[in-house]
């Protein structure tokens, strides 16, 4: 196992932010750690990267214990945190050479590795420009490159695509896929279902520091069920009629009075949509909006935990 954690626990003062996390990640796979803000994802990453001591449980990375063998862990680990943790004033190449030297590569070796990474992440043109002139996507790529200086066997990615545009997001995904194909184990935290869908072969869903669900993305999607159909009516008085129309094609329905909205989970998407639109039209109910969509992360957590997500 590239990463193995058992009963990992961490408190801040009175709050338990990580409560008994079990995790195992195989080499050459991406394991998604999914959860809202404050679920404990970053805390888990910080413990696995030896930045934070656990208050309970044990964890090993690349076969080394993160507490008692932290020096060996750091030799096999790449960390890409939420900030672009690079020197803003120096150029991209200088940054990578510095991190290479600090990872105890020889000076020539560090330069060579920096050039390799700059090429791999398409940063050669900007290599000698100050990082402060980089775009968000370029910074992210440089940050990712900095985490790969030592060609780590385990890579920890903490929300690597937060704040990136779709293009930048795809670039990061491609880089991650290439690494995994080369045998690297990746632990990826994210708030996006789609990201897990794209990359991960296994997912652990965290909520309030506890494991709410785990399995393959497909199994997870099956368990959180079907698409949602939202109907927004113009007149609040029409809500009961709209609900009746939805009940005919769906199991659960839920009414949101303020939003004049009825939401239903549906299995047969097209049939449900046609039926609802026709029924409402026949009844002469004025509809402001009809939306057919995937469940939101909030709904996933509602489903998995039976409690609504707290604002973090």
């Amino acid at each position: 196992m590239a990463i193995r954690a058992t009963g990992l626990t961490r408190r801040y003062g009175e709050t338990t932010v990580l409560d008994g996390l079990d995790l195992s990640v195989e080499p050459g796979t991406v394991h998604g750690l999914l959860g809202p803000n404050g679920a404990g994802k970053t805390t888990a990453v910080r413990i696995l990267s030896t930045l934070l001591d656990p208050h309970g449980g044990t964890a090993s990375v690349a076969g080394y214990d993160v507490v008692t063998q932290s020096a060996q862990v750091r030799r096999h680990l790449g960390l890409v945190g939420q900030h672009a943790a690079v020197d803003e004033i120096l150029g991209g190449r200088d940054n990578l050479v510095m991190f290479g030297r600090l990872s105890h590569l020889g000076t020539r070796q560090a330069r060579h590795r920096a050039d390799e990474l700059l090429e791999q992440f398409d940063l050669l043109d900007a290599a000698d420009r100050s990082v402060s002139t980089y775009s968000g996507g370029m910074r992210r790529r440089l940050d990712l490159a900095a985490g790969l200086v030592l060609d780590p066997t385990v890579l920890l990615l903490d929300e690597p695509t937060t704040g990136l545009d779709p293009g930048g997001r795809r670039e990061v995904w491609q880089a991650v896929r290439a690494l995994v194909a080369g045998g690297t184990a990746v632990l990826l935290t994210t708030q996006y279902l789609e990201e897990v869908d794209q990359l991960a072969s296994q997912v652990t869903v965290l909520n309030h520091g506890r494991v709410a669900a785990e399995g393959t993305p497909d199994a997870l999607k099956a368990s959180i069920g079907q698409d949602r159909l939202d109907v927004v009516v113009r007149d609040e008085a029409d809500l009961p009629a709209a609900q009746t129309a939805l009940r005919a094609v769906a199991g659960d329905t839920e009414v949101d009075l303020d939003g004049r909205r009825v939401t239903a989970t549906v299995t047969d998407r097209v049939a449900a949509l046609t039926h609802v639109v026709r029924t409402l039209d026949d009844a002469g109910i004025v509809v402001d909006d009809v939306i057919l969509r995937r469940p939101t992360l909030d709904e996933v957590f509602l489903h998995l935990t039976g409690s609504t997500k707290e604002a973090s």
């Binding site: 910080r46 990267s49 030896t50 930045l51 934070l52 001591d53 020096a71 750091r74 030799r75 680990l77 960390l79 945190g81 939420q82 900030h83 672009a84 943790a85 690079v86 020197d87 803003e88 004033i89 120096l90 150029g91 200088d94 510095m98 991190f99 030297r101 600090l102 990872s103 105890h104 100050s130 900095a146 030592l150």
Partner: protein, 258 residues
């Protein structure tokens, strides 16, 4: 040990790289104490009557004040690295454990040596002179750098403790009354009694008085044990401050993961 030194030097080189990238920042940093020197020397100095001339009196004070202000730049650099996650990246690398702090202190000391040299030249240009020979002058420079070293560790510790922008700003403001509560700009005998006592024990006062003696610049006699043992205090104060704050900073660093 060799890794510790090599890693520290790599961290130091990072700061030297900043100088090359942002020469204007360096120049502004060098110009600021010269500006203060000119303001106090020529705008306010005319109204301050000190035997031997105000420029000669003021200049050693200005040198020590510049060393004390170094606390701000050290603290800012340390707290920015913590905020931006650079400290976390360093801590996740297989580098030597003490290298970040050692490299930071080396870089800041180098910057201070350069800053001090520039300021000494500026002083000579506006009429300040060394009267007691080069040996004593070098001893004075050593005392000034010792003071910088002490405030460097205060800065590292504060930077690790107060991570927000607010903490840095508060220190930037509080450093002013701290350096003015000394003999750097005026003789402390002109202050109200309790302020005079407080100022007499300020580490900045000890260094200023000792460097005035060593450079042969005018001193204004003050009474009390602290004022009669300035050279001793100019050594003991920085050594004690360095020992206390380096210990605190290293402990804080080692316990960042707790």
């Amino acid at each position: 040990m060799t890794w510790a030194l090599r890693d520290s030097w790599t961290v130091t080189l990072r700061d030297l790289g900043h100088w090359r990238r942002q020469p204007w920042d360096v120049l502004i940093g060098l110009a600021f104490p010269i500006l203060l020197l000119l303001m106090f020397g020529f705008l306010l100095g005319g109204a301050i009557d000190v035997p031997g001339g105000y420029i000669e009196f003021l200049f050693p004070g200005m040198l020590a004040v510049t060393m004390a202000f170094g606390l701000e730049s050290t603290m800012t650099a340390v707290s920015q690295d913590v905020q931006r996650g650079v400290t976390d990246r360093f801590r996740s690398l297989p580098m030597s454990r003490g290298a970040v702090l050692l490299g930071r202190s080396t870089a800041d000391m180098l910057a201070s040596v350069v800053g001090l040299a520039v300021l000494l030249v500026a002083g000579l240009v506006i009429g300040w002179r060394i009267h007691e020979g080069i040996g004593n002058a070098l001893a004075a420079v050593a005392l000034l750098l010792l003071l910088r070293f002490a405030f460097l560790w205060v800065g590292i510790y504060l930077g690790l403790v107060f991570r927000g922008q607010g903490g840095v700003m508060a220190v930037q403001i509080l450093v002013w009354p701290f350096v003015f509560l000394s003999n750097a700009f005026v003789p402390i005998s002109t202050m109200p009694g309790w302020l005079e006592t407080l100022s007499a024990w300020n580490p900045v006062t000890a260094t200023v008085a000792a460097t005035r003696e060593l450079f042969g610049n005018p001193t204004v006699a003050a009474s009390g044990w602290a004022s009669e043992n300035v050279v001793l205090l100019a050594v003991v104060w920085p050594v004690v401050l360095s020992a206390v704050f380096a210990t605190l900073a290293v402990r804080r660093w080692a316990h960042l993961g707790r």
